[in-house]
Amino acid sequence: MRIGVVTFPGSLDDRDAARAVRLAGGEAVALWHGDADLKKVDAVILPGGFSYGDYLRCGAISRFAPVMSEVVAAANGGLPVLGICNGFQILCESHLLPGALTRNENLHFICRDQKLRIEDTNSSWTSSYTSGQEIIVPLKNGEGCFVADEKTLDQLVGEGRVIARYLDVNPNGSLRDIAGIRNSRGNVVGLMPHPEHAVEQLTGPTTDGLGFFTSILTSMVNS
């Protein structure tokens, strides 16, 4: 299983995402923002970071990268794509997912071990979890407040497309405690917290994040 990890200028968690893929048993393939080439990967991860320095608006410049036109086309064709943090922002800017991520409610960057509840296990990236499972993974963002209009929020909730919610503490003011969402088809997932930082007991608070990466490997084997 070949999972592509895109490096944009300013991507920071690309090495971590690649490590998580490896630990889950997959092969991580480095993809470059400037190459309109997905190297025949089976899925793509857009990692966290500050692509293009978050200039203009988080993810607003990256969506125009040559690799993104390929990602958008492939995602519309069913290719599994996971956007983590900045990757989630890029997915929203690319209109692969609805809504937007804005400045945290308290205006501070926040790094904490965050409790989440997995709400939906019908996506390519959450099938290893059980519905309602509570996990702890790091959260670290300055602009992680998920917003959308009421109609969109109702639709996301109604269609079961909220994949994870913040528990105990809503760290950034996200509407309806939304930590992650998916598209209707379930192949595209955006998540603000960082499962790739919770894949080893040594360096993470838990290994709860590994499920996102085993999910994709399992769902591809099954399909």
Binding site: P9, H108, V199, T203
Partner: protein
């Protein structure tokens, strides 16, 4: 506007020059004239003035810093010593580590956000200039009183600046210090530390060798920011309305720095670079003169080729600009195309600005006219050296005589007083949880952070296969240093050393950031002389060399200097990070011990400071041989799996340590007071050379044998016990028969202070 050329300087020897406004003394100016055998051009004057500044030349500190080399312990671990951008230490398995701490105090006071941000930018470039990939950062910080109005101005800005820059750079922030004291009210300290790793064969040095090799400037464009004294020169030399006065604090762009890191590492690993230097203080002046001085001795620069943000900049300003995120590389002509291709791949701009020559001179042209022609060593390495007068301050005896005896400072005597003292201390700004600050920093990025705040030391994994890693801690109690700079500095070294050992790593090397008042004040200079002597002697005794450091003078408000603050950073190596020792104990039933001797030592303690606003007496006794034995027990105990947890005892004493270990583990404890020990002394004394450890009952025999082998005193002081608060269904810390505190009370006291002040 006319350009002051070398030939003009020869023709107009008597033109008056604004050397004093640029910070040069009359005799220093005379020396420049002697070196050049003519008056300097305005560009040369600008170069000498910044390179001979205290910041760049170490002219007041050099005679004292020499001891770090003279008294260096014999070691085969040091691959690159003092004098390069950063020292390099061999950590085995073919890996080398480089680390350094630098001050950015004054810019951070003027403009907290950018000052702190660019402090990180600068230290990170020092690390990549050695060829290392940066692994982590840390910030030792000092502020005025937590509730002072100006602290409210500078602290949030500095914290945001560190986060804004460091988070965006993708480097985990793994520790540091936050200390409040009145003396820093008008002069906060913002020190920044970076650590990086490389393979042995990847070490690079700042030298321009190989005649005909090209000098490439790359990174951000050069702008008018960060020009200090040069605007003085410009307005004196030219018509007053030409260049506008620009902010002298630099503005950082972490995105450019991130690209610079990746591009630099790629050209270094491609073997495309002969020598490399970052641009920090004194900008192009510093980079070109240091590269030339370290190399074959000659360099020619076409200054008009430098890419500018502002086309109106004068050559003097371009030479002096401290615009951030720039690097200078020496590249062989045959490699230049490959070099440029990689730089461009990362969307970074680069231009060849010069070449290495064998002229023995650094020459600079501006549109065909020669504006600089100097021997580079006289700019970079042969600046003035001062033997500043120093003398033991006349107030030192009175300070040391004001001993905090029970008669002088009232001590809590009964259980309820001690309970209240503990809660007040836990909530004091210096001892309170710093998570409001550290939660604004990314500690996870890169996926190798094994320990971070509030652990004793930060620890990162370097080799994923073998588990090889390093730990680092920085420490300094400025109150101890004020009471006795020699002993106080050794206490800082001892604490840092102990913190690294407590994490399970073996100390290897030392860096420092020496923050002091004005070197022109003999009192301050005495503190500095004593501190450096103490550190050099201490490092010799502990067998770990100083690999580099930084001096920051003139930290004072009016004539009042800050507490002498020699921040000492110790680096240690751990063969397998899986074996690290955290501060949190693991299981019910583990036995709690204190290692070392507890004495009635309260001078300079947090108790005297917070409860009585008192500073006087002599600091705790320092015994480096004891520190070494303690360190060996902690490191061996970690390596052999004997210790479940370990925590250095320092500020706040044993009771602070117990509370932190309990809160971090989520399991309570019952503490007993050793027979014959004064209760207050046991709980709050800050005697050095101690650690609290937790040991599983199965390991106690091996643990005792280990302590006995090192002749280290060990005393059991309690047991980890989740049931101590059974009646209240909550975890508690029970202190002998005196009092019991619930976790709710402890959290309330420990975690609310900083958010209440700054959130």
């Amino acid at each position: 506007m006319s350009i002051d050329t070398v030939s003009q300087a020869e023709q107009t020897p008597d033109r008056s020059q604004p050397f004093a406004e640029l910070g040069l003394k009359a005799d220093e100016y005379e020396r420049i004239r002697e070196i050049l055998e003519r008056r300097p051009t305005s560009s040369e004057l600008a170069m000498y003035s910044v390179m001979w500044s205290e910041h760049c030349s170490y002219k007041s500190s050099k005679v004292h810093l020499k001891q770090f080399g003279d008294k260096a312990p014999k070691t085969d671990k040091l691959l690159v010593g003092i004098g390069e951008n950063a020292g390099v230490v061999d950590i085995g398995q073919g890996w080398a580590v480089t680390f350094k701490v630098e001050s950015h105090n004054h810019p951070s006071y003027v403009e907290p956000y950018q000052g702190a941000a660019t402090g990180i930018g600068g230290i990170v470039r020092d690390i990549i200039a050695m060829g290392a990939r940066p692994l982590a950062i840390m910030d030792p910080l000092r502020f005025g009183p937590a509730d002072a109005a100006d602290t409210l101005r500078v602290l949030p800005g500095i914290v945001s600046g560190i986060g804004g820059y460091g988070n965006c750079l993708g480097l985990p922030n793994i520790g540091g210090e936050i200390i409040f004291d009145e003396s820093y009210a008008g002069n906060p300290l913002v020190n920044a530390l970076c650590i990086g790793a490389m393979r042995h064969n990847e070490i690079h040095l700042a030298s321009a060798k190989g005649v005909g090799n090209l000098v490439v400037l790359y990174g951000a464009r050069t702008g008018g920011d960060g020009i200090g004294g040069v605007s003085v020169l410009a307005s004196e030399t030219f018509d007053a309305d030409s260049p506008a006065k620009r902010p002298s604090v630099q503005v950082g762009d972490p995105f450019m720095e991130k690209l610079l890191i990746e591009a630099t590492l790629e050209v270094l690993h491609g073997g495309l670079v002969e020598g490399i230097q970052d641009l920090g203080g004194a900008g192009i002046s510093c980079a070109t003169s240091e590269l030339a001085s370290n190399g074959d001795g000659g360099m020619h620069v076409w200054l008009d080729r430098v890419l500018l943000r502002d086309a109106t900049l004068t050559p003097e300003e371009i030479l002096m600009s401290e615009s951030q995120e720039r690097m200078c590389a020496v590249v062989a002509p045959g490699n230049i195309d490959a070099f440029m291709k990689i730089i461009q791949k990362w969307d970074v701009e680069a231009v060849v600005i010069g070449e290495v020559t064998n002229s023995g001179r650094l020459t600079v042209d501006w549109h065909g006219e020669r504006i600089v022609d100097v021997p580079p060593r006289t700019v970079a390495h042969e600046g003035p050296i001062y033997e500043r007068p120093y003398a033991r301050p006349d107030w030192q005896d009175a300070l040391q005589a004001d001993v905090p005896t029970p008669e002088r400072l009232a001590r809590p005597v009964n259980a309820s007083q001690m309970r209240m003292t503990l809660l007040k201390m836990l909530a004091s700004p210096n001892l309170a949880s710093k998570s409001w600050v550290t939660d604004q920093f990314d500690r996870y990025v890169l996926g190798n952070t094994v320990l971070a705040q509030p652990e004793d030391a930060g620890m990162v994994r370097i080799d994923e296969e073998s588990g090889l890693g390093v730990a680092i801690s920085t420490d300094c109690n400025g109150r101890f240093t004020k009471l006795d700079p020699y002993t106080g500095t050794q206490l800082a070294l001892a604490e840092s050393y102990r913190n690294v050992c407590a994490s399970g790593a073996e100390p290897l090397a030392v860096t420092n950031c020496l923050n002091f008042g004005s070197p022109e004040d003999p009192d301050v200079m005495w503190q500095f002389a004593e501190a450096t002597r103490g550190l050099a002697d201490g490092c010799l005794q502990l067998g770990i060399p100083v690999t580099g450091g930084n001096v920051s003078f003139y930290n004072q408000t009016g004539t009042t200097a800050i507490l002498p603050t020699p921040v000492v950073g110790v680096l240690g190596v751990i063969q397998n990070v899986e074996l690290r020792t955290p501060i949190a104990w693991k299981n019910d039933g583990e036995l709690i011990f204190v290692l070392g001797d507890t004495r009635d030592e309260f001078a300079g303690s947090e108790w005297a400071n917070h409860m009585h606003q008192h500073l006087g007496g002599l600091p705790p006794k320092v015994d480096l041989e004891r520190e070494r034995s303690l360190g060996e027990v902690l490191v061996t105990g970690s390596r052999e799996g004997i210790l479940s947890a370990a925590h250095d005892v320092s500020d706040g004493g044993i009771v602070q340590v117990i509370v932190e270990m309990a809160l971090n583990s989520g399991i309570g404890a019952i503490i007993t007071i050793p027979e014959g020990m004064d209760r207050f002394t046991f709980l709050f004394s800050e005697s050095a050379g101690r650690a609290v450890v937790a040991v599983s009952p199965n390991e106690v025999q091996r643990f005792f044998a280990l302590c006995a082998a090192k002749e280290l005193p060990v005393t059991q002081i309690g047991i980890v016990d989740s049931t101590a608060g059974f009646a209240s269904q909550t975890q508690v810390v029970k202190i002998a028969d005196m009092f019991t505190l619930t976790f709710a009370e402890l959290y309330e006291a420990h975690t609310k202070t900083l958010p209440a002040l700054f959130a």
